[in-house]
């Protein structure tokens, strides 16, 4: 079973996202910030990461840059999922190595569509 790490500081968003990615056939792990997500990736690299931008400790962009520089860090498909919905943020995320980008608010159709674009489903 493919694994997806949901990284978001909102417990509610994580719960909603978990339900959606589980319905798409993924085993789901959660992390409340970039630092915890990095620790988790170093233990076990997931196939997909659904990533918030603004979080305490370490934000999504810093997490992504750090992840991509690591040995196995190019492997996961990273889908940003954030309220930062302007062109400048999107291009910054893509340059840092994001594969897809979801602008909040989202629903199951959008996550499904974006996971399909990224070749995950």
């Amino acid at each position: 079973m493919k694994t997806c790490l949901v990284v978001d500081d909102s417990r509610v968003i994580r719960k909603v996202a978990r339900k959606i990615v589980e319905d798409l056939g993924f085993a789901c792990e959660e992390a409340p910030d970039g630092k915890a997500a990095l620790d988790q990736c170093r233990k076990s690299m997931p196939d997909a990461i659904l990533l918030d931008w603004n979080m305490p400790m370490m934000n999504g962009l810093d997490f992504l840059v750090t992840l991509r520089a690591e040995q196995q860090g190019k492997r996961p498909v990273v889908v940003f999922c954030t309220t930062e919905n302007d062109m400048a943020h999107i291009t910054q995320a893509l340059r840092a190595g994001a594969d897809e980008y979801v602008m909040k608010p989202f629903d199951g159709d959008i996550i499904g569509s974006k996971f399909a674009e990224a070749g995950l489903v």
Binding site: I90, L94, A98, V102, M103
Partner: protein, 279 residues
């Protein structure tokens, strides 16, 4: 639920105007589509809309027919037709249309996602000029299509983020298709039941997910007229649930390519064009 006589009147009126067949099992559509219309018109509900139509309100008859048509669509809907466009149609017609623009007709363009998706593919492929005609019987969806303006929700269905960055500009909370794509497309109201020969010969016709709403007789006639407008080496694309089989002898399916049709008198084409040419 509408009383029998009012339902019959509505069904006949809608069929006359748009060809749309209102099936009894889709009765819920009447409620869900006519209730908003009733509200904007200041009428009590769907039945009051039909009453006004029966009194001869022509404007309301047209509005109700439009409201009952299905406009749901999204960018690169169903994916396969767009793969066929890139992998089969464009390569096959590239050489033959090197001296004039490729003529493409989206015959049920709705809110425009289909013609814009094709325009993106043409632009990304490069080296091919094309003019796209996009028609729909419903004037108000075409107005939206023409603006090229889509909500954040709409640009996230079927559209890869790289394509959003490449082909759109942000406009407040919405996203607008870039001018170079909008310039490739001409939007025009058009009803498939009417004579459409004035559009002239077409190289590629996309007519997806609209024939399913017509009865057999109307389907057959429309397919014959589409075939007559198609270039001898042109392609017709239908929706996944649609076919020409049993309806017309003027078109034939392309073997192994779901939803893709050519004229029955077309020369046999290879399933896939040779992608490698010996130097």
């Amino acid at each position: 639920m509408l009383p029998e006589n009012k339902y019959k009147f509505l069904a006949a009126e809608v069929k006359k105007r748009s060809g749309l067949v209102l099936r009894p099992e889709k009765g819920y559509l009447i409620e869900s589509r006519l209730a908003p219309l009733a509200r904007t018109e200041g009428l009590a509900g769907p039945e009051a809309v039909v009453d006004a139509m029966m009194r001869g309100d022509q404007r309301l008859c047209a509005a109700a027919s439009e409201a009952l048509a299905t406009h749901e669509t999204f960018f690169f809907r169903d994916k396969t037709p767009f793969d066929l466009f890139t992998e089969i149609m464009m390569p096959a017609l590239r050489t033959a249309r090197s001296t004039r623009p490729l003529k493409i007709w989206c015959a049920a363009a709705s809110t425009g996602q289909e013609p814009y998706s094709l325009a993106m593919l043409i632009r990304e492929t490069g080296g091919l000029s094309a003019s796209i005609l996009a028609t729909d019987m419903c004037a108000h969806v075409l107005e939206k299509a023409k603006t090229g303006l889509y909500s954040q929700f709409e640009v996230q269905r079927g559209l890869a983020i790289q394509r959003l960055v490449k082909h759109f500009e942000q406009s407040g909370d919405s996203w607008r298709v870039k001018p170079e794509l909008r310039e490739m497309i001409r939007f025009e109201p058009g009803n498939l039941l009417d004579d459409f020969s004035r559009y002239g010969q077409q190289d590629i016709i996309f007519c997806r997910n609209v024939l399913i709403y017509f009865d057999v007789d109307a389907k057959a006639k429309i397919l014959d007229r589409l075939a007559a407008l198609l270039a001898p080496d042109g392609y017709l694309v239908l929706g996944a649930a649609e076919t020409v089989v049993g309806l017309t002898d003027t078109l034939k399916p392309v073997a192994g390519q779901r939803g893709l049709y050519v004229r029955a008198d077309a020369a046999q084409k290879p399933a896939r064009p040779a992608s490698v040419v010996a130097a």
